[in-house]
Amino acid sequence: MASSLRAYGLIAGAWVRASMTYRASFVAMTVGQALITLIDFAAIAIMFSHIDELGGFTLGEVALLYGMSGFALGAADLLMGNTEQLGRRVRDGSFDAMLVRPVAPLVQIAADQFALRRVGRITQAVAVLGWGLAASNIDWSVPKVLVLLATLVSGSVIFCAVFVLGGAFQVLAGDATEVMNAFTYGGNTLTQFPLSIYPAEVVRSVTFIVPLAFVNWYPALYLLDVEDPFGLPSALQYASPVAAVLAAAAAAVAWRAGVRRYRSTGS
């Protein structure tokens, strides 16, 4: 584990150093990313000029949901987003090279082309989250602070697990980027809004199948002292770390199975 982290740092460091050669473009890209994502939130804010509530939640509360989900996806994308490239790596054969180095291939693919500019998205999410926390009426307590912090970590782990799961599919199929994007970016878009606007089946599947509801929805209900509109047990509201551990374990199993069934290419 420690050696994997060290290797991640080494590879990511080499990429950061290489990208710093073009410092100006690095700054431009980071600012650009933050601006693009700000516009993204502006769209939601504009929607609220016509309505006061969405699924029973105010603009501030939606910002809270949006920020939590955005942070989790942003952090996961920074750390693991490059697993998107696995399909290409498998097809052009360069995944083979990763398998013969003394570092877990997942670490190598994740750290490959590490791009600090992805921090732009996290910055934006933190800004929206901060505003959301201030604008929604939260009755603060120590457990609530802990749940918030634990959720940010757990949410990131859950999205990382989704990236790894997608990576395992790509190792097997040589392609599946679209499927994976549907779960990561699609999942992020889905959870930007209060789940109360969706049918119960959707909520059940993002609770029990792909546990994206634990990235923000359940902990937000707890922070805001809102009754679960679907009447699910309130224990779920503290269960994000459990969901994260389960998701990570499932992803690890899938990844191992994927690598053992890896076929390489015929050339």
Binding site: S94, D96, A97, L99, R101, S267
Partner: protein, 316 residues
Amino acid sequence: MAVIEVTDLRRTFVVRSKGGRLRRERREVVAVDGVSFGIDAGEVVGFIGPNGAGKSTTIKMLTGILVPTSGRLHVDGLDPSRRRTELARRIGVVFGHRSGLWWDLPLRDSFALLARIYDVPRDRYRTNLATLVELLDLAPLLDVPVRQLSLGQRMRGDIAAALLHDPPILYLDEPTIGLDLISKARLRDFLRDLNAERGTTIMLTTHDLVDIEHICRRVMVIDAGRLVFDGDLTALQRVGGATRTVVVDLETQLEPVRVPGTTVTRVEGPRQWLSFPAHSSAAPIVSALAAAYDVVDLSIQEPAIEDVIRLLYAAG
């Protein structure tokens, strides 16, 4: 002592091809079909065979990239696919048709990163890098991103990258593919010296039989997933029924000459071609010729291994 031990190694691939409208045909391709061999430390082994014979698949199992369908294999005492990461420190791998280097990083950065990943001690890295840069003539390329290197330059970079951590075992899958004659010759010399000086065990696949003649003492021939020959070059020639040829220029034009143990395959004016089994000595033939005829000039042609292999394949 055997550093590579392979027993009854098999690997199949399930391929699905579109057959008909919705139905997909499921077919099993046997890439490696019950191969057994052992390689001792310090050996240089050439692994040859026609396209699709199973060479790359075997190498991929030996490195841990592919999990065997069945059979046993040990490399330096480890089961490659189960202890892949651990084994990686003890082997160097070069795939001729793809690079193991980071495409967008300059060669120098790739090397430095690899040295840290493999925990090569700093001064060891410095001396290794200096040696490899000199032997492989890499100095002018160090600051060039890998994607800008030519095929031959990249290959040299890849070979250096595979050797920075002093692996006792080196696998090369078609390392001379696409190289010009001079680069090939230099690479062969380099590999031969590497084996002589460091005792590195080398296993290489190639379609260029000159590679084998120059660096490999032992040849394994694989065909349709089965090992059809394993031994030294001369033995391969014997098995294949290869022949050598004495080309003799006589004083005058004659009927085909009669020399025991040879057959005349061609006559062109005073010049005649006498073939004899590749493994027998040319000396008695030459002296018999000289004793019975007026010989002006004489030369001996070695068999081309291509022909030997063709004979071997034909014999099945």
